[in-house]
């Protein structure tokens, strides 16, 4: 277990380091921020001075070294647009994004696991057919399409929920459902296939022969084992949800990371882009690490492999 743990932690550290390098290089390609920071009447000499002050005239390797050193100290530079530390801006947007993605994920699990399990137990039944329809549809439509459909239906037609904004529960409903639909479809498919697999195993057959009541078989023996692969899948879903959140946040004017990245790219506010993507990658890598460790803890076959 210790060996497995050290290997995974080392891998994650390398990943994070490489990601910071890649993001650093990409962001350098976006453009020269001094064009935006200075008034149009500024001379070339003013610009050079500013570039010098910001360290933009030094070699890229030196710039990256400085960036890493500051990163370790928790300094991610200043946002040109907000005149505030970029990390503060990003952390301010993190809360709304986490609220949106965890609500969507919770919804996905709440809908996906029971429906997938019932579909597997009653293969070919009515619930199975409905669940299949729901899943196939859910995986074919991007969240931004559902967002627009929901706005048209529930905001404009029925006036049940506001079209955009942030703050109250009714603001959360439409974006969370639009985002959660997609992951519910994936979770449903996985629960169904993993549950079907478990239900066909010898130990379930043996439990049946022994006369264990059906509900005990399904809940105690089958579902618990079927949900194991869900641990890893849920972490992957979280990443997909963070991606899907970009368009959903854009549509619903949700003040999260996705919209922040989008706005910062169009305003060339590259310290914020860099900070946001770094924080996102850090969270996602840590989450994957945590999930792998949890999985190895739950399933001994992994750590000895």
């Amino acid at each position: 277990m210790i060996r497995y743990l050290t290997r995974r932690v080392a891998q994650s550290l390398i990943t994070v380091l490489l990601v910071t390098l890649v993001i650093f290089l990409i962001v350098r390609l976006i453009g020269d921020p001094t064009h935006l920071m200075l008034p149009p009447e500024a001379t070339e000499a003013d610009r050079e001075l500013l570039r010098h002050q910001m360290g933009l005239d030094r070699p890229v390797a030196v710039q990256y070294g400085t960036y890493l050193w500051h990163l370790l100290q928790g300094q991610l530079g200043m946002s040109y647009r907000f005149s505030r530390p970029a990390l503060d801006v990003v952390l301010g947007a993190l809360g709304p994004t986490l609220l949106l993605t965890t609500s969507a994920l919770g919804l996905g699990i709440l809908v996906g696991v029971p429906l997938g399990a019932i579909a597997a137990v009653r293969r070919g039944g009515a619930v199975d057919q409905c669940a299949k329809f729901f899943a196939v549809l859910g995986q074919a439509a991007p969240p931004f399409l559902f967002s627009l459909l929901f706005i048209r239906l529930f905001s404009i037609q029925l006036s049940w929920f506001p079209t955009n904004g942030y703050g109250t529960f009714s603001h959360l409903v439409l974006p969370a459902v639009a985002l959660g639909w997609y992951s519910a479809a994936g979770i449903m498919r996985l629960t169904r296939s993993s549950m079907s697999e478990v239900l066909d195993t010898e130990y379930i057959k043996f439990a049946r022969i022994k006369g264990v009541p059906e509900h005990t078989i399904i809940f105690r023996h089958a579902l618990r084992n079927a949900l194991l692969p869900m641990i890893t899948f849920t972490a992957l879903q979280f990443g997909i949800l963070m991606g899907g959140a970009v368009s959903v946040e854009f549509i619903f004017s949700w003040p999260g990371i996705g919209r922040l990245i989008l706005d910062s790219i169009s305003n060339l506010d590259y310290t914020v882009v860099q900070a946001a993507v770094t924080v996102g990658a850090l969270i996602f890598t840590l989450l994957n690490l945590a999930v792998d460790v949890l999985y190895a803890y739950v399933d001994p076959r992994i750590r000895y492999a």
Partner: protein, 299 residues
Amino acid sequence: MHEATPLDLRQRPAEASVPVPDLRARRQFFRDAQLWVSLALAIALVVVALAPQWFSPYDPNAISLSDILKPPSSAHWFGTDQLGRDLLSRVIWGSQISLYVAFCAVLLAGVFGSLFGIAAGYLGGWVDAVAMRLADIQLALPAVILALVLVGAIGFSVFNLVIVLSLANWARFARVTRSEALSLRSRDFVLLAKLAGASRIRVIFAHIVPNVVNTFIVLATLDIGTIIILEATLSFLGLGVQPPTPSWGAMIADGRGYLETAWWICGIPGMVLMVAVLLANQLGDALRDRLSPTMSRGW
């Protein structure tokens, strides 16, 4: 007094032993039907995308101020948008750009990702370590965010879009083909080929690659849907295909302001997008059941 009648086996009606329907044969038939129907529809879609000028009734960019925001009618089957442009024509021309980008991006990501994965799995050692750490970089960021930042960095053009989409989506190919190559490495026919003196390159291209092709086809087909969605998302956000070139994502973005008065501007391209992704997914699932049963996930 009512007595519970015990089940009398001798009086069991003869109908109880009707032959059980052959579920397996029926399922097989439906799987075949799924494959052929989705294949036929997908080919139809590709034909439309290849020759939009044959199918499009109007010029997709012709602005007609007298036809602004017309609902679907016999003259304009899918209605018109806020500039009076015919939506059917725009959807048809949009299929060209959306499918073109998706095909190129999947092919690029698939070929390079798979070669990476095969090299990593077969050669092992530092090649494996480097390839998998590179894959980790891509997997550490959601594809949409990676693609957004990359497009922001290298600018808009169809060519750049293809590059960005494949950079944001190659790791899955590498991961899966790596594990296949890893298990093929110790199979007898590979060992025998090595024993016979075949070079590494020869073993990879003559013995490993042909055995990974099925997996590649399945992954690539399933990936088309993902990439169509990713491209549409970027175009919807204004960072993909640029106007006035019609693309499904950008058309949906156009209609966002007219949700109340003209639902069809969003709705029609949205439905077409869904149908295209649905077809790719169904075709992928059907191919997976046939070519790579071990990857099958039911349904």
